[in-house]
Symmetry: C2
Subunit: 506 residues, 2 copies
């Protein structure tokens, strides 16, 4: 008798219960390829055996890793040695190539096995919960809804109105029926105007095909990470950093690697810091200058140093330049486009420059090949962007005076807050080069920005962002200078008062 | 001497080249935990050895799979036996649980190994490239731009204008400054109004917390798949189907499993078809009734049959009901909400009902727990939706007469096209219950819808969607009845003429 697959026969019987003839035929077919099925059965059995062996070894490996965690704990060694891990990964990848396995396949496989190891080791360490930016944001809104007047210095959103011309252009487009599906990459006029805008500013040679319109900067980041890296790859981010980089990278199965910069270094990111954090698995570097939350802008030569090093080492730079217009040192903020010819992706947005946060419109600048891949992913997420919003953005690009005026205003506010802060003995702060934030260090022993921010909000109706939202900076806070000078006055004074009250006795 | 990690020392030397003292200290630390490091080194060596063994076995497994592919090819057996594969997966998962490995971990691991096997086997089969819906769409736009008048029957977009009241409400909101970040889940008023709208229609008890506003139905699908399934899980979709389900599922690393329905069965999806396609890896079923492209709506009892079976077997149903208002049989289209109390996610959109395709606004209805997870992912993708657009959507919900009138109009058009088509001897078509498409079968031997659609567009200026875009339906085409009766007249006549011309002689 042939060794047929019994499950197959079972299904045939069930599907065709009204027609017994079919069953007969199917047995016949099975018999005619008897030899083949016998061979298949044998091979499948072997595959099963091998797979069981693999799983046994993985379980054994897991026990060894668990022992390593115990030893590390006993001798107080940090959980993850990325360099060792990456060296091992690289050795194993070469080894598996010599076995005829594909590089990408091995990397995916090992990244799953290794991330399980990391998880296993981390389970043996206690973690402290911190109150994040989002919690403060929600709490502030909740209090406002209950009727309280809150001075909102936690939020990263300009307070000035969108240009009238933008609003009217959107209305015009709506009435003209620009309410249909449109070019998936963004309307051509907007991509042309953006290309020109940026070419004029940076002497680049961008074409519309180098630009993809996205639903805001966050979508640009979400897409760029997917296009430029694989599961398990490392994404390096200088900290302090906007918390979404970490959340998005980890959501996408990438490994987030913070590169810590310090107020003592005036927030400068040095090439050496990049180098010492690189491993074989490093793939991306996300720069964000002018920076949220520090306001630091790298100088052209600082940026060049980093960018060239990254290119040298095959690290693609995602340069998040959403604050580029908010630059206080004269001229334009240094851009990755000023120092590299390729190998980068720029993320831009209309949110900060034209106060268009609620329009959800931003863009990606990159080589055509990258834009093509990004476009595909954008299609899966949102099909295309509303045309009437894009018409508004096109109009915004003309509003150069509006931008100049607002940047001046923000600069004045930042300087005002800076002056007030620098008079407080508990505060150390670096004068921002741009953006609209200040990120002072609070020179109080064991200062905990999370609990302080919550208390300040609940007891004094002033909201600030805790430093711990941006990395290991629990002795820092972020203050947004996007309220009127009057509001900022009260807000900052209340903040300083609270510091004095809470810590004067210490 | 202690067995320290040489790489570590190297880095210390490099980082601190100005400060030789640090190096001395680090050696001291290493020496003091000499015992620990020795143990670590030993364990790490063992982990390396075990990992190499694992890779060797995986390479061996790969060779066996390659042999299986050869045998299958020789004996003309289809590449993938999902049932066998799933049974093996399930057995192996149990086996690995007995080894102390976590279920989810094993499943991720094996899904990578198995999908590599599938890829390996599929490489040995030739695939034919087909011209898809998107290509026709772009080609049609290109021809229009070159000045040609194209009768667009390929696109799934209503031709009637957005209600004036919606446009004016959006403009009002814009002028009132509703241009800021807003509730991440969607403004409360819209979620309340939607909940009421749906509760009135289906007798449900939805609360605003059961609703998440998304940037269109496609984003709703993209998020729902992520929330409700894991890498490697199977997503079952009755075909013919909107091609994006497949593209999104595969982009997200899920396995897309088509469940083929047939014109001979009047496009009914039977419970048995579902059952015979289920494996241990099946997690999701995406229903889309009224259906794109067939116009079929399941009856309440047909839907109930499927839904209960799915729940019984722990399959979550994503019910894409974006065409729910386009229902021609009187009353309302049967909804998953009419037959299940929980265990489903509904995807809705303002695009089709209110011709708001270019507004990019849709929603997810689900249990609160699912909405919370979905909200997180939405935040990574787009932060929140524009408030002014949501205000427009809120207004749209009041436009009940508008909807009624347009549905009547579309019904008339569909019936008109139906009548014309049924007079053609080459065409077989099932009268649609809803949506705005017709999906006729072309009864011509070896009819190839892709090349026919391209030829029709290029030579006769009429665009239709090839059936092969919706699954294995190369002998079908999709005609959208969202143009004026006059245009449809010309379009359908040209289509029929082209059939006659091309195939009359056969």
């Amino acid at each position: 008798m042939p060794k047929y697959n019994p499950k197959k026969l079972y299904f045939l019987l069930e599907f065709n219960k009204d027609n017994i003839l079919i069953v007969g035929i199917s047995i016949l077919v099975l018999m005619s390829s008897d030899e083949g099925f016998r061979e298949l059965e044998k091979l499948r059995y072997e595959v099963g055996e091998v797979t069981r062996e693999i799983l046994k070894l993985i379980a054994k490996r897991r026990q060894l890793v668990s022992k390593i965690a115990d030893v590390k704990k006993k001798f107080n060694v940090s959980v993850v040695d990325r360099f060792l891990e990456s060296r091992i990964l690289s050795e194993l990848t070469s080894f598996s190539e010599s076995l005829g396995l594909e590089r990408e396949f091995t990397r995916r496989l090992l990244s799953i096995i290794i991330s399980d190891s990391v998880k296993l080791q981390e389970e043996k360490i206690l973690k402290t919960e911190v109150i994040g930016l989002r919690e403060i944001f929600y709490k502030a809104i909740e209090l406002e809804r209950s009727g309280k007047k809150i001075i909102r210095m936690e939020v990263g959103e300009p307070d000035f109105p969108v240009p009238d011309s933008v609003v009217e252009e959107v209305c015009r487009a709506l009435r003209e029926g620009k309410t249909r599906y449109t070019d998936f990459a963004g309307i051509r006029e907007l991509r042309e105007a953006l290309a020109k805008h940026i070419n004029d500013l940076h002497g680049t040679d961008l074409k519309p095909s180098n630009i993809l319109i996205t639903a805001g900067g966050v979508m640009a980041i979400y897409i760029a990470i997917q296009v430029l890296s694989n599961l398990g790859d490392e994404v390096l981010v200088p900290e302090p950093a906007w918390p979404l980089y970490k959340q998005i990278a980890e959501h996408l199965g990438r490994r987030y690697i913070p590169v810590r910069t310090k107020i003592e270094d005036k927030w400068i990111l040095r090439k050496e810091q990049l180098i010492e954090n690189l491993t074989e698995s490093s793939r991306l570097l996300i720069l964000n200058y002018p920076n949220n939350p520090t306001g630091k802008a790298l100088t052209l030569s600082e940026l060049k140093d980093i960018a060239l090093e990254a290119r040298e080492r095959n690290i693609t730079v995602i340069s998040d330049e959403v604050y580029s217009e908010y630059f206080f040192n004269g001229g334009k903020a240094p851009s990755i486009m000023d120092v590299l010819d390729d190998g980068y992706v720029v993320v831009g947005s209309f949110s900060k420059t034209w106060a268009m946060t609620g329009f959800r419109i931003g863009y990606i600048i990159a080589e055509e090949k990258i834009i093509e891949k990004a476009l595909k992913i954008l299609g899966y997420m949102v099909t295309c962007l509303p045309e009437f919003i894009q018409r508004g953005a096109l109009k915004a690009l003309e509003e150069k005076e509006y931008v100049k005026k607002n940047v001046e205003e923000v600069k004045k506010r930042v300087e005002h807050v800076l002056l007030k802060l620098s008079r407080c003995r508990y505060v150390e702060v670096v004068p921002p080069d741009g953006a609209f934030y200040l990120f002072p260090k609070i020179k109080i022993k064991d200062f905990d920005s999370s609990s302080f921010a919550l208390k300040l909000l609940e007891e004094k109706n002033v909201s600030i962002a805790p430093g711990s939202s941006f990395g290991e900076y629990r002795d820092h806070v972020r203050i947004s200078a996007v309220k009127s000078l009057g509001e900022l006055d009260v807000g900052v004074e209340t903040f300083i008062q609270a510091l004095e009250e809470n810590y004067a006795e210490r």
